[in-house]
């Protein structure tokens, strides 16, 4: 039983069709990575799921209760301290101030933020710190569904790995579902249970790959090897424009796990 079902989703900006016949399922507790080249409509699809955009046409069934989103940029409110930024979602849920503060301190500790950092304004913090706060803001409301719009793409590799670890830890503890979009295959291999490939003009889903290795057993070597295997796959090569050729698009992704397994 999937918690998010999307059928026949189409979306147009004026006369330009940006998403065409999208069918997607996301099960509870599953991490799904949507990969594809820039401009293929990944963000548009994510914004539709987040409720920021209304699609031109679609059947969407969403059973997830709490949804949080991390954007490409931290998008912190510049006039609020780190603590008030982290607890923004809790305040919207009418959690009393003392409880908010307590939870902010707990999550700050797990994110590697000091009490002093919590009193600072975003402009006083480095880019990495701001990303941690954005992650804290998303995790603190304990969402059932976490939407990630390439939030780690601008970070250095050390910080990326640390945030991946924090994210995976949260997913394991909470059993949240994650829908992440990325153009970095290795990031997808590292974090996801399933990878869906998307191509542009108009945005379509053209194949999916299930990663059966459990997260605990994913070593760096396995991640590199799997990424290399995926990079050699025709659909991915053609989708990213690395190889010439056409894709057979008659097959729709109605059923879950219909693609190749790795």
């Amino acid at each position: 039983m999937s918690a998010l079902q999307i059928r026949n989703l189409q979306h147009k900006y004026a006369l330009t069709e940006v998403l065409s016949n999208i069918n997607l399922d996301l099960a509870a507790g599953e991490t799904l990575a949507l990969v594809g080249p820039s401009g293929c409509g990944k963000s548009t699809l994510l914004h539709i799921i987040a409720g920021l955009l209304i699609p031109s046409e679609a059947l969407i069934k969403n059973d997830f209760r709490g949804t949080a989103c991390m954007f490409q940029e931290p998008r912190l409110l510049p006039w609020k301290t780190a603590e008030d930024n982290i607890t923004l979602g809790l305040k919207a849920l009418h959690v009393p101030k003392l409880a908010r503060r307590q939870q902010a301190q707990n999550i700050a500790k797990s994110l590697g933020l000091t009490a002093d950092d919590l009193n600072k304004y975003p402009h006083e913090l480095s880019g990495g710190m701001q990303s941690r706060i954005a992650l804290g803001r998303a995790l603190i409301i304990k969402p059932d569904l976490l939407l990630l719009d390439e939030p780690f793409s601008a970070l250095d590799i050390g910080l990326k790995l640390e945030l991946y670890r924090l994210l995976r830890q949260h997913i394991t503890e909470r059993g949240s579902s994650v829908l992440m979009i990325t153009h970095d295959l290795m990031e997808a291999v590292r974090l996801a249970d399933r990878i869906v490939m998307m191509i542009p003009e108009p945005g379509r889903l053209i194949g999916e790959f299930t990663l059966q290795q459990s997260h605990a057993e994913r070593s760096e070597t396995w991640i590199y090897q799997t990424t290399a295997k995926l990079m050699a796959n025709d659909r991915i090569r053609i989708g990213f424009g690395l190889a010439e050729g056409s894709l057979n698009l008659t097959e729709h992704l109605h059923t879950q796990h219909s693609g190749c397994s790795i």
Partner: protein
């Protein structure tokens, strides 16, 4: 606690920054004195004489009541303009259509000379309190309206998306997203409106009432009393400077303490 700890150094550094303003004002007084000495007391009395005259006016009980009368009129007209202008400007800013409709009207209202409003107000309300109050209101309204509308329109769409994703209720969107952003547009507009309000109230009183600073200026003009005239001007400017630097500027600094390089 942290904010409390920062209060004292912030206040001191604000007061310290006042030395620059004070030096600039004193330099102006020096030039005034120089020109005054060249032209003589009848044309341009020096700053010391004017301040002496102002002190005399306060001591004899002339200045106080007149200032209070003008201040009251300014306060009514300005508060009304700030409230109505900020609210309507924000509402107009929420929608593209109303902003487009409002823009030419603002240009029209900003371009209309206050003296024309004054003549109309005299015809509509006669020679009472309502005339200066209305003129101040109508002269300040478009300034505040434009500031509020511009502020609302320029809020980053990214932050609006954050508000939507985290399901902020309407009152939180207002207090946590819109108002802090709006403040940096509203405050300069309010300060401009404050300056305009004093100018307009004095002008309105000069032509339409028998009390207030404007009326007192009319009397000193009739008596060819340059030092009294300048004393009134100094009184008006003094009140203006006090309101801006002792009230509005500290509030602005407090609200915008999150900006780079301000106070913290």
């Amino acid at each position: 606690m942290n904010r409390l700890r920062n209060l004292l150094p912030n206040t001191l550094s604000y007061l310290w920054s006042g030395w620059g303003a004070l030096a600039s004002l004193l330099l102006f007084c020096a030039v005034w004195e120089l020109v005054g000495e060249y032209y003589g007391d009848l044309i341009l009395p020096g700053p010391l004489e004017v301040i002496g005259q102002l002190k005399l006016m306060f001591n004899s009980g002339i200045a106080g009541p007149e200032l209070i009368i003008s201040g009251r009129r300014t306060l009514y007209g300005l508060s009304l303009a700030l409230a109505v202008g900020s609210l309507l400007g924000m509402l107009a800013g929420f929608s593209m259509t109303t902003s487009m409709l409002a823009r030419p009207l603002i240009t029209l209202l900003l371009g209309m000379p206050p003296i024309a409003w004054l003549v109309l107000a005299m015809l509509w309300f006669g020679l009472g309190d309502a005339t200066p109050v209305f003129t101040v209101f109508i002269a300040c309204l478009p300034i505040v309206f434009a500031g509020a509308m511009q502020g609302t329109r320029t809020l980053d769409n990214h932050l609006k998306a954050v508000a939507q994703v985290y399901r902020l209720p309407w009152h939180m969107r207002l207090t946590d997203i819109y108002l802090p952003h709006l403040a940096s547009y509203l405050f300069p507009a309010w300060i401009t409106a404050l300056g305009t309000s004093w100018k307009v109230v004095v002008m309105a009183e000069l032509l339409s009432t028998s009390d207030g600073i404007g009326a007192a200026l009319a009397v000193s003009r009739a008596q060819l009393d340059t030092s009294s005239t300048l004393a009134w001007v100094v009184a008006v400017l003094g009140v203006l400077l006090a309101i801006e630097y002792l009230l509005l500027e500290p509030i602005k600094r407090h609200l915008e303490r999150w900006r780079v390089g301000v106070s913290q």
